[in-house]
């Protein structure tokens, strides 16, 4: 089910601008990997290359390779749409579809990919909402619009929507930055539960969050504004936060810069 991500010599560009330079890393399956680093260091950009969302932006391209287990997702005849079905994504701000009800939002990925059977859809909706710890809160109002939920509930709805299509990897781009501490806690608990089934990569600005939820942590930084971001080091979270190898990591984690 869950897949390993192998990144090799990856350089990411926006037009002529190089945003990320020479990243080589391995993201282990059934674990949570956190990306931390100052703004502009390219951690979100890197995350978006894992499901080829990066190339939605005009002029964006990559050099290097990203493998899901043994499949090169940037292979010449790989359909980005197929990659995105395997690698789900949760965004910074909750973005439920405003024209759809709560139930339809969760079913959106399945329905838009051609699943019609009402019974199966209902089962998948319930299952996904349960996995996202949202079922009890919304089971009586599945026919109500998703925009009526609170921010934290909307974000869990988006997670339910993402896992409904049964991806193997779940990418989360600062999923809690728009949420209050209680909702953040709910999402973090959810992440810990989901890691038994998925490979999870989470970008966060909140180092306590990285320390709480992740098994592995990767630290990125950039030498100056306008320079590309680089991976400084990646290790077990515990080691990264107690005894990192690199001096820059320690400075960042202890709050001396960033």
């Amino acid at each position: 089910m869950a897949k390993r991500i192998d990144v090799k010599d990856l350089n990411i560009f926006y037009g002529a601008f190089k945003a990320v330079e020479d990243v080589t890393m391995t993201v282990e399956p059934r674990s949570v990997t956190a990306f931390i680093g100052p703004s502009g260091c390219g951690k979100s950009t890197l995350l978006r290359t894992f499901n080829r969302m990066h190339e939605v932006i005009p002029g964006a391209r990559v050099v290097g390779s990203v493998h899901l287990d043994d499949a090169d997702i940037y292979g010449s005849n790989v359909d980005p749409v197929a990659v995105r079905r395997t690698v789900g994504m949760v965004f910074q701000r909750p973005n439920p579809f405003p024209t759809m009800t709560i139930g339809d939002n969760v079913a959106a990925g399945l329905r838009l990919n051609g699943l019609r059977d009402k019974k199966i859809l209902a089962e998948k909706v319930e299952g996904s909402l349960r996995k996202a710890n949202l079922w009890d809160e919304v089971k009586d109002r599945l026919k109500k619009p998703g925009a009526g939920l609170s921010g934290g509930q909307q974000q869990r709805l988006c997670i339910a929507r993402a896992i409904a299509v049964e991806p193997q990897v779940l990418l989360m781009d600062e999923p809690c930055s728009a949420l209050d501490p209680i909702s953040t806690l709910a999402i973090e608990d959810l992440v810990s539960e989901l890691k038994s089934t998925y490979t999870i990569v989470i970008v966060t600005h909140n180092m306590q969050q990285a320390a709480r939820v992740s098994d592995r942590t990767a630290f990125f930084t950039l030498s100056a504004t306008g320079k590309p971001g680089r991976l400084i080091e990646m290790d077990d979270t515990q080691k990264m936060f107690s005894n990192p190898t690199e001096r820059t990591t320690e400075d960042y984690i202890s709050g001396r810069f960033g």
Partner: protein, 309 residues
């Protein structure tokens, strides 16, 4: 606070707020005055804008309203009615106008909406700029020019008769830019996050547009189509050049005569005899009413498809 209060107090430096006991500044008199002036100007502008509108509505309703209360107006045509006779109806012109508008919309809406989708979702580089520029030019085309262009193609070049369909073609030229521009604005308002959310679920781009982007912008698109339709229904130049009026019911877009409300108004507008003059006002009132009804219908439709909150 009035302007007189400020000007009479000549010792006051109106530009500098005074300190009060609490440490906060008093609201400066100059600012209050400016606020007052701005408010008066705004309300005056509003009143000036309303005057012609109310005036038109008042004249049309008082002079044409009575005819519309007679059921014959909605069931009969003007067949056999002369300018001395009272009676007859406008059903021929109402039907003609609605058929023209419908046929125009059937042609212009798909082209307009798809052009807008191209410009917002796909258009990059040179071709998109050319398309956008062309739409700008179309927006500025006077209706008489559109009508004469179609006349040149339809009648002069191909040698066809002047028929309702030719009128529709001219109206299509006028309606497309309105729809393209309004639809474009509405599609641009759809947050990119929704497109990305859809892509991230493994939904292809065309399906994202059809099932997420367009539904989200639906009510705005409908409003734009209605604005275009309202413009087209009142348009007269193409009718004068390509759609000869008749007093009888004629609903075939390909067989010559096509009575419509604008041409009905035009037909009798120089009359001095009261029955004909009344009918001119009646037709004007009917046209306004039709457009109003269309707008209300559109509001209802767009409410059904609007984002739920």
């Amino acid at each position: 606070m009035t302007a007189a209060d400020v000007t009479s107090d000549s010792n006051l430096n109106v530009m500098r707020p005074r300190e009060s006991a609490g440490g906060f500044n008093h609201r400066s008199r100059a600012r209050a005055l400016r606020n007052h002036i701005a408010r008066v100007v705004m309300w005056t502008a509003f009143a000036v804008a309303m005057v012609p509108l109310v005036w038109i509505l008042w004249s049309v309703i008082t002079k044409g309203g009575a005819l519309l209360l007679n059921s014959h107006w909605w069931t009969n045509s003007q067949r056999g009615i002369t300018n001395r006779m009272v009676g007859g109806g406008a059903i021929h012109a109402i039907e003609g106008t609605l058929i023209e508008a419908l046929a125009t919309a059937v042609m212009a809406v798909p082209i307009g909406v798809m052009t807008a989708i191209y410009l917002v979702e796909y258009g990059r580089g040179r071709l998109a700029r050319v398309v956008s520029f062309t739409v700008d030019i179309l927006t500025g085309i006077p209706s008489i020019v559109a009508a004469l262009f179609i006349y040149a193609v339809w009648v002069t070049t191909f040698g066809f008769q002047r028929v309702g369909f030719a009128v529709c073609l001219a109206l299509v030229l006028l309606m497309i830019p309105v729809i393209v521009r309004s639809t474009e604005e509405m599609l641009k308002l759809v947050p990119n996050e929704l497109r990305e959310a859809s892509y991230a679920l493994g939904v292809p781009k065309w399906k994202t547009i059809a099932r997420v982007v367009v539904p989200t912008a639906f009510s705005g698109i409908i409003t734009g189509i209605l604005l275009g339709l309202a413009r087209v229904m009142g348009e007269t130049a193409p009718l004068l050049i390509l759609g000869p009026y008749t007093k009888s019911i004629a609903t075939d877009l390909f067989s010559g005569l096509i009575p419509t409300l604008p041409t009905m108004i035009n037909q009798d507008r120089t009359e001095v005899l009261q029955p004909a003059v009344d009918r001119v006002w009646g037709a004007a009132m009917t046209l306004i009413l039709l457009i109003l009804l269309l707008n209300i219908a559109g509001r209802l439709v767009s409410r059904l498809g609007a984002p739920k909150t």
